[in-house]
């Protein structure tokens, strides 16, 4: 197929969706451009790469989750099934008394550095936004506090989202109770 395109098609390969020319693409890919533009804009080199706070990212993630729950509600009406969107954030947002192995998971997720701490903040914001939603309006079920009264090891795995049989049973019971 190579070589069958016109010159105009060939030139279009060097243009992005925004209609930027090859020269501008090359210019913006240079380190000099990046530094000068970041200095001129006060530290942010480009809106696409501008650092976003974990709180705003968490709010954005919650918005996507809630939008998906509403979309599934529409499918529910269209296809005649029942639907439940269950929020289960894992050990980072659990109110359970953590055992040492669970605490080690939390420490492992929050201690290594700024990146992990930012993710913890992001997840907390996301959880806060979702739990503030009026659950009567949509098919949303918050399971964040289902494990709070459980004893012993519940959360396992490196990300603290997997659970032991006791945790899984508690989640299943909470879901069934809400049907």
């Amino acid at each position: 197929m190579l070589g069958t395109g016109t010159a105009a098609q060939g030139r279009s390969l060097y243009r992005s969706g925004g209609g930027r020319s090859l020269w501008k693409v090359v210019l913006e890919s240079t380190e000099t451009w990046g530094v000068i533009s970041s200095v001129l804009s006060g530290g942010a080199s480009d809106s696409a790469t501008e650092p976003v706070s974990p709180e705003s990212q968490g709010a954005a993630a919650a918005a996507v989750f809630l939008a998906n729950s509403r979309m599934s509600e529409n499918l529910e009406r269209l296809y005649g099934f029942n639907c439940r969107f269950c929020w289960l954030p894992g050990v980072l947002r659990s109110g359970k008394a953590l055992v040492p192995s669970e605490q080690a998971i939390v420490d492992g997720m929050t201690d290594p550095g700024r990146e992990a701490a930012e993710f913890a903040a992001l997840l907390c914001t996301c959880s806060d936004v979702i739990e503030e939603v009026d659950l009567r309006d949509i098919c949303l079920v918050s399971l964040a506090s289902v494990m709070d009264s459980l004893q012993g090891v519940i959360f396992v795995g490196p990300s603290g989202t997997e659970m032991t049989a006791d945790g899984n049973q508690a989640v299943a019971r909470a879901i069934l109770a809400g049907l």
Partner: protein, 237 residues
């Protein structure tokens, strides 16, 4: 005297040629050269050429000095750009805040579970039976089996979507969330129940929703659909 005579002809010829080119551009409409495709480009090329020829016609033997000077300016300019690029490259690597690559979560939190999945259109990836974790039994459609699930086509069908929490790669088939839902519905529902564990490692609710849409389009008729997750949605933000 002889030298100036021999040098005069090229200068005069260059000046005449330049004026001719300028005239051709100015009167292009009158002589049938435009307007049309390529006319603008012809004008630009002619203007550049005419400028060069006219400059040579005026400067004569000093034209070579101008040519050298322009070359030197361009060479120094290139050198300056190279030096600036090198310096700013080092600065960008030393200061992550100035790096064009976002420092946050370049590696997905679930990347540790890369074994056990394989590429899949639309949803990104699917369970891979050939590299599934020990003790994880998958059916023909890549779903983890749910012990006790009815095979009756008319059974009450429950689709359970999620990620690692629902898939439960580190626990037995009989201890997953879908398995407990199966047990609970078996005692609550009058009739056969089929719970399907449709969880995939690291799937967000968006991927689950896409899979549900694809299943509905293929004719699946679930009675109950459960999405269980949240961590992965946050991680994907």
């Amino acid at each position: 005297m002889r030298r100036s005579e021999t040098g005069a002809f090229p200068r005069i010829a260059a000046t005449v040629a330049a004026l001719g080119l300028i005239a051709a551009v100015v009167f292009s409409d009158s002589i049938g050269l435009g307007p049309g495709p390529g006319t603008a480009r012809f004008g630009i090329i002619s203007a550049i050429l005419a400028t060069g020829l006219l400059t040579y016609g005026i400067l004569g033997s000093r034209f070579s000095y101008l040519f050298q000077a322009i070359g030197q300016v361009l060479a120094w300019g290139m050198l300056a750009v190279l030096v600036l690029e090198t310096v700013f490259f080092v600065i960008a690597r030393l200061d992550p805040a100035r790096s064009s690559v976002s420092p946050t979560r370049d590696v997905a939190p679930w990347s540790a579970f890369r074994s056990g999945i394989m590429p899949e259109p639309y949803t990104g990836w699917d369970n891979d039976p050939s590299t599934a974790a020990t003790g994880v039994v998958l059916d023909a459609s890549g779903c983890r089996i749910v012990p006790g699930a009815s095979t009756d086509p008319a059974a009450y069908a429950v689709f359970v979507y999620g990620a690692d929490a629902v898939l439960g790669p580190s626990i037995d088939d009989s201890a997953t969330i879908p398995c407990f839902i199966q047990e609970g519905l078996d005692s609550l529902w009058q009739g056969p129940v089929r719970v399907e564990n449709r969880a995939r490692p690291g799937w967000t609710s968006t991927q689950a929703l896409i899979d549900l849409v694809l299943s509905l389009r293929s004719g699946a008729k679930p009675d109950l659909v459960l999405f269980i997750g949240g961590f992965e949605d946050a991680a994907a933000a």
